[in-house]
């Protein structure tokens, strides 16, 4: 009797143990190490010592504010693009997909079976100055000879939108799929036309899905460095590229770590402001749905 009560008391802890350990080892420890790094000073030859050196944050923001702001803009633009493209797709699958819904969802996910970098490089081939897309248009005289898409901000934003599209489609789809068809019938019964039904019933009910999609798109898109380095050019550097460069090339670990935390802070502030604007109190709960 006593043993079973003890077991019952321990069960929740046993359940949380694998996940808790996983987070502690692979999330908390690296975060502490990074936080520590961001406050260290020194150089790679003599080593870095922990000195509460806040200067790295100041240096990071002073030298690289352009790239931070650019990353936010690119992330925002890509997120809006994924909503514009992804919402109708999710809507169509949820309400018009019929019995092939799963096939369509699989098709959305299909590109994800190809590695991220490879997908982006294939875009590089596709968009090359004299490549599959631009080559024929140029020889037909429809575009000037020096026209190019690669090495522009547009290429980076489109690359980001393409790579993160499923993260927008799937949560919106889930939100739309949950809407009770009876609500739509009720709207019709109450003389709402299709536009009104969408604006007053469907859209508000799907907003949590959009919010989750924004979280899953905006955050990784703003901190991405692959698209900017493969599709971008001089002047399209994002903060992710700067962090990579500071860490791997200059070996200025403190500035790299400080920039990471700065970016994290900016993104968190943005997300909570957005959550406030949407009137969502429990941000995390909604996004976990």
């Amino acid at each position: 009797m006593k043993g079973s009560r003890l077991r019952a008391a321990l069960t929740p802890y046993a359940l949380i143990l694998p996940g808790g350990l996983w987070l502690a080892i692979f999330f908390v420890i690296p975060m502490v190490v990074m936080l520590s790094l961001s406050l260290q000073s020194g150089n790679i030859t003599d080593g870095y010592q922990f000195t509460w050196n806040w200067r790295s944050y100041l240096d990071g923001v002073t030298n690289f504010h352009d790239q931070i702001i650019r990353s936010i803009w690119y992330g925002l633009a890509a997120t809006i693009l994924t909503i514009v493209i992804g919402y109708p797709v999710a809507y169509w699958i949820a309400f018009r997909g019929g019995r092939h819904k799963n096939v369509y969802l699989f098709l959305i996910l299909l590109p994800f079976l190809v590695p991220f970098v490879l997908r982006t490089i294939s875009w590089q081939f596709f968009l090359a100055d004299n490549g599959v897309l631009l080559g024929p248009l140029k020889s037909a005289g429809l575009l000037p000879e020096d026209f190019h898409i690669l090495a522009t901000g547009v290429a980076v934003v489109f690359g980001l939108a393409y790579n993160f599209l499923p993260f927008m489609v799937l949560p919106i789809y889930v939100a739309l799929e949950r809407i009770d068809p009876a609500l739509l019938e009720a709207a019709t019964d109450l003389y709402a036309n299709r536009v009104q039904t969408f604006l007053r019933v469907v859209l508000p009910l799907s907003l949590p899905g959009v919010f989750a999609g924004v979280l899953m798109t905006f955050v990784p898109a703003s901190s991405d460095y692959v698209n900017a380095s493969i599709l971008g050019g001089a002047g399209n550097t994002m903060v992710g590229n700067v962090i990579q460069n500071q860490y791997l090339v200059t070996q200025d670990y403190p500035v790299a770590a400080a920039l990471s935390f700065t970016l994290m802070a900016v993104l968190l502030i943005g997300i909570f402001a957005y959550a406030r604007a949407l009137g969502t109190e429990e941000v995390l709960e909604v996004s976990a749905r």
Binding site: V32, V33, L35, S36, L37, L39, Q40, G42, N43, I44, T45, D46, G47, Y48, Q49, F50, N63, D66, Q67, A128, D129, N130, G131, D146, H148, L150, A151, G232, G233, A234, G235, T237, N241, V242, N245, Y247, L248, V249, T250, Q251, D252, Y253
Partner: protein
């Protein structure tokens, strides 16, 4: 003491209590919090990154390292892409002769990221999985030396190097006396262009600032490479440059970038865009252009501009945690056999440190027929593989730095341009 008026909120005892006392009192929770905070503080302080400046090795250190070490019959070799015939004829012959198997991997993409990858393992005294690796003279090479991560070489095990290496490669300023390294190959950084788009062959670095090529110019992202280029354009010798020169060079490069002339700053993948026509002209390494032309049938051109060019040397070194250093040093020496150096140069088309290879390539050319013959003759007489004294006089090395601060100053100046 002043009298408190009746309307004053301080008269409200409940409010007063609420404002002055903790609601729960100092409880367990706060103690936990305090303990957590101090643990976090300790954790933060414990995460320092180790660095250790090593003293230069004495002859006794060399003996101490090599005594008692024996041949193990295997060597792991880390090299750069396209740095050996993919069929690995030289290594196969080595295995046949010595019985030592070679695991050859072209894993090094650039010096900085390679250094970042192996540094933690070397700092912890762990094996990096390779016994022999190729590192370019420059910032990371110096760091590897300063941190004591490289094995001091036992020259009694390098007879071919002593006999066959060119004198210039025995007194390289970055490693005088070849204490840690022997060259694998040298190369030249100059200008490459695609003649399909550019009619007048460029003769000066100024071509990279030509507004006619706006958006079609490729530059390197490496701080030392672009710094050298801009300084040579301004008539400054990079080796003797001062911080004021760097600033001028950086201004020049910024002008080029802000005018929209630079399409992109490349790490080492400028070749494909140049072949495809995404860029028309770029800063490039000599051998890559040759290999691209041979393998893909392109007709790209490489020029050493009138201002001069940068010469760099890729060096074979043994990391201090190598499991098979004896096998590694045997392989090092093997590359200094003139026959081996000749076949290697025939394939990679970079400068070989073995001058005797030239005659061997000529004799190979005499035996060959048709296209192969032409190719081999071209290699044997190429100034990019066997530069003359006059050619060498036009070549500059990277600026070396007296300490980490100077280096950081240089790097941040140029990276501000490439990562803008």
């Amino acid at each position: 003491m002043s009298v408190i008026p009746p309307s004053d909120p301080r008269r409200d005892t409940a409010l007063l209590r609420g404002m002055t006392r903790r609601r729960l009192g100092p409880g367990r929770r706060d103690l936990f919090r305090l303990a957590g905070l101090s643990a976090a503080g300790l954790a933060l302080a414990a995460c320092g990154v180790q660095g250790r400046r090593a003293a230069p090795p004495q002859q006794s250190d060399v003996e101490k390292y090599w005594s008692g070490r024996t041949q193990n019959g295997h060597v792991d070799f880390a090299n750069w892409p396209l740095y050996m015939d993919p069929k690995l004829p030289e290594l196969k012959a080595f295995t046949e002769r010595t019985g030592i198997t070679v695991n050859y991997k072209e894993v090094i993409q650039d010096n900085a990221s390679w250094f970042a990858k192996i540094q933690p393992q070397l700092a912890a005294g762990q094996s990096i999985g390779y016994d022999l690796m190729v590192v370019t003279n420059g910032i990371q090479f110096t760091q590897l030396v300063q941190l004591g991560y490289l094995v001091p070489l036992d020259h009694s095990k390098l007879p071919n190097f002593a006999k066959n290496a060119a004198e210039a490669y025995k007194r390289e300023p970055f490693d005088p006396g070849n204490v840690y390294s022997v060259p694998y190959a040298s190369g030249i950084t100059g200008i490459a262009y695609n003649p399909k788009y550019i009619d007048t062959p460029p003769t000066s670095y100024a071509a990279l600032w030509d507004p006619r090529y706006k958006g079609k110019v490729g530059m390197m992202s490496d701080a030392q490479e672009i710094g050298n280029l801009a300084m040579m354009l301004l008539g400054v010798e990079p080796e003797k440059s001062t911080p004021a020169d760097w600033q001028k060079a950086a201004d020049k490069l910024r002008e080029q970038r802000d005018a929209g002339i630079v399409r992109k700053y490349y790490d080492q993948n400028f070749i494909d865009p140049l072949g495809k026509g995404d860029i028309w002209i770029c800063q490039a390494w000599s051998g890559d252009i040759f290999q691209k032309n041979v393998s893909d049938g392109t007709d790209l051109k490489f020029v050493i501009p009138e201002e001069g060019a940068t010469i760099w040397t890729d060096n074979m070194v043994i990391p201090k945690t190598a499991a098979n250093p004896v096998d590694a040093i045997m392989l090092m020496d093997y590359f200094y056999e003139p026959e081996v150096a000749a076949t290697l140069a025939e394939y990679i088309n970079y400068i070989t440190p073995v001058p005797a290879a030239q005659d061997i390539i000529r004799s190979h050319a005499a035996e060959a027929k048709g296209e192969d013959k032409e190719l081999l003759e071209a290699v044997a007489s190429s100034p990019l593989v066997f530069p003359s004294e006059a050619d060498y006089a036009k070549l500059h090395t990277y600026r070396s730095f007296k300490d980490a601060n100077e280096q950081k100053q240089y790097e941040s100046l140029f990276q501000a341009i490439t990562t803008a």
